[in-house]
Amino acid sequence: MEDHLSNLEKKSISIIREAKAQFKNMAVLWSTGKDSTATLWLCRKAFFGRIPFPVIHIDTSYKFPEIYEFRDRIAKEWNLDLAIAKNEEALKNGVSPEKGKLDCCTKLKTEALKSIIKKEGFDALILAIRRDEHGIRAKERYFSPRDEEFRWRYADQPAELWDLYVRPAEDFSHMRVHPILHWTEFDVWQYVRRENLPMNPLYLAKNGMRYRSLGCMPCTVPIPSNASNIDEITEELRTTTTPERAGRAQDKERAYMMQKLRSLGYM
């Protein structure tokens, strides 16, 4: 395990340094969750203890108080150049999840990010995305360009060959850099443990419930669990049926589902 984590780490740091070498105005996105905190840590290692670019926190104002507390504490401890992205105008107009979740996420998250990118002129963003998170993430690359409309043209992406990460010359607004793309959820927890990284208390069980991921308060639901430390969390991960089962099984399910949907008249 030791070697495995170190190999993951080396590749991630190599990617982060590559991004710094190619882009003039970089920033890293931080949600205070375990993945982005681990990514911040990797950035610190890459640049010998200090992160020489801004750390962006998208503040929807609906986050858990524990998230704000954690954010401010770590920002001080690690001497971070914290940049808070907040869509003040939308909040003034009363945008909230009750009035429409899609609208709320779009205005308070996506647009807040867009405006800070435009305002500061960031040309590269480091994000803590992993391939094993969702289906379409599997098509992501280590260096993933966003065009002028901030769109990700995944069907049309340029090839990523070997470890030669390239910056497009045109139709480009910013590059998304994903240094932990090849890590699994399990790897991240092992790394958190090995490096003794600070962890948001929301991840640990309280009253038989804990949060598997940290979103905004009104829209994040805890899962029933008694895992109160990292070992228990990783054990829980190993034993619960994860919906994303690889390979053959997935194809079979897909074929079955298509057939079912046809028989029900959907397709």
Partner: protein, 414 residues
């Protein structure tokens, strides 16, 4: 204790039982979990096949790996008592080239699967030629489908003789040739009693005994690719990745392409000072005696004489909407170096499907085509041949939206 790993590339026509042989190797070495075998049996039954098909194992694993990656190589391990063999599967010609170019690992040895009944196909020769270029010098031949010729000794000997002629013309000598039947498991992992006339070893024994372990990357000469220079506490720290060799404190080095000599004063690895660094490590180093250091340069050992290169020959595949003509100036990215090169001459255009020469000295090369090209760097460059140092022997050609073509360096011309 972990077994040493050998990367194998299996070449041969699909109809000659390549997939069956791979499936058989996996099955016999018991690396396939029971549950998977049951799944495969169930699938075969539901599509009306009664006999267990070994080729299906490979198909099944391939699908599992395809995941979301658009360019992929199937890495499938099987084992013997002494080693773990990872098969880098190259299913077809066209894909072969792209996969060869984009492959993560280099093969240490190749297994050629030929059919006793069908004989050698024209593509086989080209396949062999290509893997020779890639620096694969160890070759084993498995003459498959012996069951279809009743395990006949004379047919095998005749076939072996004609094979040996072809092999030596390609500079493959002393190649072990093993008669097998992948379908019935004869001579693959178990000695066959249907071929008593054959006194040699089984395929797996030949792999164990005849294939030498690759030289570990750390034993190769030192090559460190420079990523960036940081100003840290008043000092200049060079951040680089060790590709081959070992980097040690106090080691004298030569920086290419400037050919300046210096000494490694300090090595820093993730917040800790280190005495040495090995392949795969990304470290910060302080060099003494070097006046000019830049991203794109490479730190090498002083022992071997590394040279600058201006002209080189490369095999190139274009995979995007891009046309290349003699006289064009392109920007290539090799390691961390981005530099301009002139297309001096397009030597020939190769058909990516059957690898035959389509045209000598064509005027241009387009999307989907493979060609052999002479490049001339506008500034002194440092690179290596792909078969020696793949990490600094491969490059991409840059277009407006990113990489448009991929190439491997075949020959340095000075």
């Amino acid at each position: 204790m972990s077994l040493p790993n050998i990367n194998l590339v299996v070449i041969g026509h699909k109809d000659h039982g390549k997939s069956t042989l791979i499936g058989r190797l996996l099955y016999d070495s018991k690396v396939i979990p029971d549950q998977k075998l049951q799944e495969i049996r169930a699938e075969l039954q539901s599509s009306g096949k009664n006999q267990f098909e070994f080729a299906y194992i490979l198909d099944s694993l391939e699908e599992e790996r395809r995941g979301g990656l658009t360019i992929d190589i199937v890495h499938t391990p099987f084992k013997s008592e002494r080693r773990i063999y990872t098969i880098i599967d190259c299913p077809g010609h066209k894909e072969f080239i792209r996969k060869m170019l984009t492959g993560a690992s280099q093969a240490d040895a190749a297994v050629l699967v030929a059919s006793a009944k069908e004989g050698i196909q024209p593509q086989t020769k080209e396949h062999l030629f290509l893997i020779k270029i890639l620096g694969v010098n160890q070759l084993i031949v498995a003459v498959n489908k012996m069951d279809t010729i009743e395990y006949n000794e004379e047919a095998f000997r005749e076939f072996s003789e004609s094979l040996k002629k072809i092999l030596s013309s390609l500079d493959y000598n002393d190649v072990p040739i093993v008669p097998v039947s992948a379908l019935y498991g004869e001579n693959v992992t178990k000695k066959s009693d249907r071929m008593e006339w054959y006194e040699g070893d089984t395929l797996i024994q030949v792999l164990d005994n005849r294939v030498k372990l690759p030289k570990p990357l750390s034993e190769k000469p030192l090559r460190c690719v420079i990523q960036d220079i940081y100003d840290f506490e008043g000092k200049k720290v060079t951040v680089c990745k060790v590709e081959t060799g070992i980097l040690k404190i106090g080691q004298p080095v030569t920086v290419m392409p400037t050919m300046e000599e210096g000494i490694v004063e300090k090595i820093e690895s993730f917040g800790r000072e280190a005495k040495e660094s090995s392949p795969g490590d990304s470290v910060g180093i302080v060099l003494r005696g070097v006046s000019e250091i830049r991203r794109g340069y490479v730190v090498t050992g002083v022992a071997e004489k590394t040279e600058q290169t201006r002209e080189f020959v490369a095999e190139l595949v274009i995979f995007s909407d891009f046309t290349l003509r003699s006289g064009d100036i392109v920007t290539i990215r090799l390691g961390t170096c981005e530099t301009k090169c002139k297309i001096e001459k397009i030597l020939r255009k190769v058909d990516p499907v059957d690898l035959t020469v389509k045209e000598e000295e064509p005027e241009s090369l387009e999307n989907g085509e493979v060609g052999r090209i002479v490049f001339r760097a506008l500034e002194p460059l440092y690179l290596e041949e792909y078969s020696d140092f793949p990490q600094i022997g491969r490059f991409v050609v840059l277009g407006k939206r990113g990489a448009v073509a991929a190439g491997i360096v075949l020959e340095k011309r000075g």
